[in-house]
C-alpha cells in the first residue's frame, strides 16, 4: 500500500449504491474491488479485492459480513473462508491475503485511494 499522503482519492460510486451490512463490486481500471459498508464500524467502508484466490472466482463482494473475535470479516460465499476487512488477511489460511485499498466516504461519494489516476468512475 502506498503512503497515504501521496494518494489520489478517486470517486467510485455514490454512498446510496452501498448496501448497509453487505457488499457490492466495483470496477477500477481492470481491477475488481469488493466494497463493504458497515455503518458505525471503524471507517464504515472497506475495500478488498473481489477475487477469491481459493475458488479462483470474483465473488468476495457477495459474501456475508460480520465479526470474529471483534475483527470485522467477510466470508467467501463459495468455500466460506473468512477475510479480515481491515487488512485482507485470511483467518483459515494465513498465507493468503486479499489486496486492500484505502477507502473513505466523502459527502455522498465513495472514494478510493489510488496511485493511478485512470478510474472509470460512475
Amino acid at each position: 500500500m502506498s503512503n497515504p499522503t501521496e494518494l489520489e482519492w478517486l470517486s467510485l460510486c455514490d454512498k446510496d449504491d452501498l448496501i448497509p451490512g453487505s457488499g457490492i463490486a466495483a470496477w477500477l481500471d481492470g481491477e475488481q474491488i469488493a466494497l463493504f459498508y458497515l455503518p458505525g464500524i471503524g471507517n464504515e467502508v472497506f475495500a478488498l479485492s473481489n477475487h477469491d484466490p481459493i475458488a479462483n472466482a470474483n465473488v468476495i463482494a457477495r459474501g456475508i459480513t460480520g465479526s470474529l473475535e471483534q475483527q470485522p470479516v467477510v466470508a467467501s460465499p463459495l468455500y466460506k473462508q473468512h477475510y479480515r476487512l481491515d487488512d485482507g488477511s485470511c483467518l483459515e489460511q494465513p498465507e493468503l491475503t486479499l489486496k486492500c485499498w484505502p477507502v473513505r466516504l466523502s459527502g455522498n461519494r465513495v472514494e478510493i485511494g489510488s496511485d493511478s489516476p485512470q478510474v472509470n468512475a460512475a
Binding site: G21, A26, W27, I64, G66, L68, Q70, H82, A122
Partner: protein, 829 residues
C-alpha cells in the same frame, strides 16, 4: 499349519454376534469359519421385528455391515438347513453335502411354541419370529378384519401391535390371569391391560382355547373352556418359545429335562468339540429368552476360544420396552420372591402409572422393580440393582413423582466404573471412559468404539449422560451456542423471536447477542425470521443476512455464476411452458439439465442476466423454485390414477396441492416431498422428508427420510389419512421441526435426536400431547397466506434490483468468466 475348521450353525442375532466377536480376535487367524443359516436372510434384528410393518425392510433390519461375510476366513451359506451332526466323523450334514468341523458352535435359537389345540393345523396357525413369518402374517392380514394373538407375553403384545399396524382389530388371548406374568406382578398386569384396551386392543385373560372351528361371521371361531367363543380371521400363536435343540437331541448331546442343550460356563456341551450359545442353550437349568444374555454367551465363547479366561455367569433379565406405546419395565426380582424382601409401591390411577420396588430386608439394596406407564425411572433403578449401590434412606423417594423430597435421578458421576451401561453389548462405564480417554468426543464416537447402545438402544439416554458428564469433567464444554455472537441454540433463538415478536436481526443481536454477527448466525436468524413473519428476504433489515444464494435467489456455481430453477409443481409442465424454458435457456446460452426433483436447472447466468431471465420466465407463468433456500424444494410425483393402470389416487393433484401450500416455507434445512399414487412407490416417497403414498382408503404418510450422503428411509407415521388430516399432520410436523430443529439439521437427524423419536413425534402431532397442535397449524397458515414469489416482488422493485449488477460503476460482465463447449452446451472453462 492348515487352518482348523469351525462351523457355526445358525445366523441369528447371537450366532452373528459370535462371528463378529470371534473374527475380531487373534484366534481367528487359525480358523476357517463356515456359517449355516436356515433362512434366506443374513442375520437381522429380531428385537425390532415389528418395524418391518412400519417401513423397515429386511435390509434395514440387517445386522451385518455390508461386505462382512465377504471377508477372508468366513463363508456364509444361507438357505441351507443343517439336518444332522455326525459326531464320530465330526461332520455336519445338509441336503447339499457333509462338512468337516474341528469345532462346532450351535446357535440355533428357539422356535415359537404352538399349543396343541385341535384345529390349529390349518393356515390359521401363524407364528411371529422370522421375516417369512411376518410376510405370512401380512398376506393373511390383507384378507382379514379381525386378528387374535394367543399369548399375552412380551412377544405376544409385540405381535398384537403388528396386527394393529396392519389395520386389523386386534385381540390378545392369554391363558394366565394377567399379561406379562413373567415380568410383571398382578397389579401391573391389570394396569397394562387397561392401557392396552384404551388403545383399541381387546385383552381376554384366563382363557383356555379348546378348539378352533370354522367361524360364522369370520373365517375361524375359537372356543374357550368357559363356554365363550371369539370369531377371528387369523390367529398368531405367541405362547412362548422352545429351544431349537433338535440337532443336539438327535446327535445325543446332553439335554435338559424340558429341552435345551446343556452347557457349562464356557458354553461347552457334553461333547468337548461342540459349543452352544443363545436360546438353544441351557445353563444352570435356565434358558435365556433375551438377546443380551445370548450376546454375553457369544462374547464369552469367543474369548474362551481365544485363550482368554472367560466364563458365563448368568445374566440380568431386566427389560425396558414400549409395548403398543405403553412403557413397561421389569428389573431383577420383580415378583418379590426373595425371602423377607420389602415392597414399596406407588400407583396413580389418574395418570395410569404404577411403580414397585423390591428391596432387601435391610432396606439397603434394590433387588427388583416393576414399572408401567413411565420408564423414566428405569435407568436409575437398574443401576442401583445391577451395581449393588446403597439405596437412599427412603427408597420410595426413587419412585415418587418429582416433587420436593424426591430423590434426584442417579447422575452418571455416581456410577462406579464397573457399572454396566449397555447390557446388550455388555459395555461398562469404565469402557466408555476409556474410549473418551482415547479421543472419542461424541456419543457417536463412543458408539463406534465400544458398540454401546447398538443393541436394543434402551440405554441411549444414559449413555449420553455418561459421555456428557465425562466430557464436562475433562473441561470439554458441551455448548449449544449457535456461534460466538449468540449464547443460545437455534431453538432458543426461535423461541425468543416468536415470543418477543422480534422482527429483525439487529434487534435480536442488540438484545440477546454481541458483535456484528457472522455467516453462521445471520442466515440462521434470517431463516427464523422468514419462518415466523415471512417478510420478503430482500427487505432492508434482512438483505445482509442471506447467503449469496438467497440474496440473488439463484444457486452460485463454482465460477461465481448462478443456476436458475423455476418451480414446476409436482413435476407437471405444459409443452408451452417447456418451450418457454427452452427459449430462455437458448437465448442466454444456459447449460440445461433435468434435476432429480422433476425440474429443469439452467446454469451459467450472470448477475446482470438474472433479472432479465426472470422477467421472461415470469411472463411465461413461472414462479421461483426456491432451489437456493433452506426451504421446500420439490414435491416429486408419479403420474398416479390419472393415467397409470395401477394408481389408486391422484398423486399429481396431491403433489401440486402440497407444493403450492408449502412453497416458500423456510426451515432449518431444505425439505423435499414426494407423492406416489400406489404402493409401487415410483415417486420414491420413502426417501423424502415428507413422503405420501396412496392407499385405496386414502394416504399413508412417511416422515423424516432423506437421500444424500447418509440415506435414511422415512418412517411410516400414519395410515389411510383423508386429504384434510394429511395436510393437518404435515403442517404440524413441519412447524414442529422449524420450531425445534437445529441449524442445518435435516428432519431425519432431528427426529433421531428427539428423545422418544418417532413415537414422541407421533404423540405430539397425532395425539397433540403438548397441546401445540392448533398453534402450529395457525403459524403454518400465516406462512401459507403471506406467500409471495420472491422474484416477482423483486423484479418490480428497482431498489431490490440494484444489487443485480456485476459492477456498481460499470456495465460490463466479469471479464474473467471463460466457458468451453461440451456436448453442444457451455460449461466453465
Amino acid at each position: 499349519m492348515s487352518k482348523q475348521q469351525m462351523i457355526v450353525i445358525g445366523n441369528g442375532m447371537v450366532g452373528h454376534h459370535f462371528v463378529e466377536q470371534f473374527l475380531a480376535s487373534d484366534a481367528a487367524a487359525d480358523y476357517q469359519l463356515t456359517v449355516f443359516g436356515e433362512e434366506p436372510h443374513v442375520a437381522y434384528d429380531r428385537v425390532h421385528l415389528s418395524d418391518y410393518f412400519n417401513g423397515s425392510d429386511a435390509d434395514a433390519l440387517c445386522l451385518a455391515k455390508p461386505g462382512f461375510y465377504d471377508q477372508d476366513g468366513v463363508t456364509l451359506q444361507l438357505d441351507e438347513q443343517v439336518t444332522g451332526i455326525d459326531r464320530d466323523a465330526k461332520q455336519v450334514i445338509t441336503p447339499k453335502g457333509r462338512y468337516d468341523y474341528d469345532t462346532l458352535v450351535l446357535a440355533t435359537g428357539s422356535y415359537p411354541f404352538v399349543p396343541p389345540i385341535p384345529g390349529n393345523d390349518n393356515e390359521a396357525g401363524l407364528v411371529y419370529r422370522t421375516l417369512d413369518d411376518l410376510d405370512a402374517i401380512r398376506d393373511a392380514a390383507a384378507r382379514s378384519k379381525i386378528g387374535v394373538v394367543v399369548g399375552g407375553g412380551l412377544l405376544g403384545l409385540e405381535a398384537a401391535n403388528a396386527l394393529k399396524s396392519l389395520g386389523l382389530k386386534a385381540h390378545v388371548v392369554e391363558f394366565a390371569p394377567q399379561l406379562m406374568g413373567v415380568q410383571l406382578d398382578g397389579e401391573a398386569g391389570e394396569l397394562l391391560k387397561s392401557k392396552i384396551e384404551d388403545l383399541g386392543v381387546t385383552v381376554h385373560c384366563s382363557k383356555a382355547t379348546q378348539q378352533i372351528v370354522a367361524g360364522d361371521s369370520c373365517r375361524y371361531k375359537m372356543e374357550f373352556s368357559d363356554g365363550e367363543a371369539l370369531e377371528t380371521d387369523l390367529i398368531v400363536f405367541s405362547a412362548g418359545i422352545r429351544p431349537q435343540d433338535a440337532l443336539g437331541r438327535e446327535s445325543g448331546l446332553e439335554l435338559g429335562e424340558r429341552g435345551g442343550i446343556v452347557i457349562d460356563s464356557q458354553c461347552r456341551t457334553s461333547d468337548e468339540s461342540i459349543y452352544a450359545i443363545g436360546e438353544c442353550a441351557l445353563w444352570n437349568g435356565q434358558i435365556f429368552g433375551l438377546v443380551a444374555p445370548g450376546y454375553t454367551m457369544a462374547k464369552t465363547l469367543a474369548a474362551y476360544l481365544n485363550d482368554e479366561a472367560a466364563g458365563f455367569t448368568g445374566a440380568d433379565m431386566s427389560t425396558k420396552l414400549k409395548l403398543l406405546g405403553v412403557d413397561v419395565g421389569s428389573i431383577g426380582d420383580a415378583h418379590g420372591r426373595t425371602p423377607e424382601a420389602l415392597i414399596y409401591k406407588y400407583s396413580n390411577q389418574a395418570e395410569g402409572t404404577y411403580r414397585k420396588l423390591v428391596v432387601s430386608p435391610d432396606n439397603k439394596q434394590l433387588l427388583g422393580a416393576v414399572l408401567v406407564g413411565d420408564n423414566s425411572y428405569y435407568d436409575t433403578l437398574l443401576q442401583y440393582a445391577l451395581n449393588g449401590l446403597e439405596l437412599p434412606e427412603q427408597p420410595d423417594s426413587l419412585i415418587l413423582p418429582a416433587m420436593e423430597g424426591a430423590a434426584p435421578a442417579l447422575g452418571a458421576d455416581a456410577l462406579p466404573e464397573t457399572a454396566t451401561i449397555c447390557s446388550c453389548l455388555n459395555v461398562t462405564k469404565g469402557q466408555i471412559v476409556e474410549a473418551i480417554d482415547a479421543g472419542a468426543v461424541t456419543v457417536a464416537d463412543v458408539k463406534e468404539v465400544t458398540a454401546a447402545s447398538t443393541g436394543c438402544g434402551g440405554c441411549a439416554a444414559l449413555l449420553k449422560n455418561v459421555v456428557d458428564s465425562e466430557l464436562e469433567q475433562r473441561g470439554v464444554e458441551i455448548s449449544n451456542d449457535l456461534c460466538e455472537h449468540f449464547a443460545y441454540s437455534r431453538e432458543e433463538l426461535y423461541h425468543l423471536v416468536r415470543v418477543e415478536g422480534i422482527a429483525s436481526f439487529d434487534e435480536l443481536l442488540k438484545r440477546y447477542g454481541k458483535g456484528l454477527g457472522c455467516d453462521i448466525c445471520k442466515p440462521t436468524v434470517g431463516s427464523i425470521l422468514a419462518s415466523c413473519w415471512n417478510d420478503h428476504i430482500h427487505e432492508l433489515p434482512h438483505v445482509g443476512l442471506q447467503d449469496t444464494n438467497d440474496t440473488f435467489m439463484a444457486n452460485m456455481q463454482k465460477n461465481g455464476t448462478y443456476s436458475v430453477v423455476p418451480r414446476v409443481p409436482g413435476g407437471e409442465i405444459t409443452p408451452k411452458q417447456l418451450i418457454a424454458l427452452g427459449m430462455v435457456a437458448d437465448k442466454y446460452q444456459l447449460y440445461t439439465k433435468i434435476t432429480g426433483g422433476q425440474r429443469v436447472d439452467l446454469f451459467g447466468a450472470t448477475l446482470n442476466q438474472l433479472p432479465l431471465i426472470w422477467g421472461e420466465l415470469i411472463d411465461a407463468g413461472f414462479e421461483t423454485g426456491h432451489a437456493y433456500g433452506k426451504s421446500l424444494r420439490t414435491v416429486k410425483s408419479c403420474v398416479g390414477s390419472t393415467w397409470c393402470r395401477y394408481g389408486v389416487q391422484d398423486s399429481v393433484g396431491m403433489a401440486i396441492r402440497l407444493e403450492n401450500r408449502y412453497k416458500g416455507l423456510r426451515a432449518p434445512h431444505k425439505i423435499k416431498f414426494a407423492v406416489s399414487g400406489c404402493t409401487r412407490e415410483c415417486a420414491e416417497a420413502q426417501s423424502k422428508d415428507i413422503g405420501v403414498i396412496a392407499t385405496d382408503k386414502g394416504w399413508n404418510l412417511y416422515v423424516c427420510g432423506n437421500g444424500g450422503m447418509k440415506p435414511r428411509h422415512a418412517d411410516l407415521f400414519a395410515t389411510d389419512l383423508d386429504d384434510a388430516t394429511l395436510i393437518q399432520y404435515i403442517d404440524r410436523v413441519l412447524m414442529f421441526y422449524i420450531k425445534t430443529g437445529d441449524r442445518l439439521q435435516r428432519t431425519s437427524v432431528w427426529m433421531e435426536n428427539l428423545e422418544g423419536g418417532l413415537a414422541y413425534l407421533q404423540d405430539v402431532v397425532i395425539n397433540d400431547s403438548l397441546g401445540l397442535g392448533q398453534q402450529l397449524e395457525q403459524q403454518m397458515e400465516h406462512v401459507v397466506a403471506t406467500y409471495q414469489c420472491e422474484w416477482k416482488s423483486a423484479i418490480n422493485d428497482p431498489e431490490k434490483l440494484k444489487r443485480f449488477r456485476q459492477f456498481v460503476n460499470d456495465e460490463r460482465e466479469d471479464p474473467d468468466l471463460q466457458v468451453v463447449e461440451v456436448r453442444d452446451q457451455l460449461i466453465p472453462a
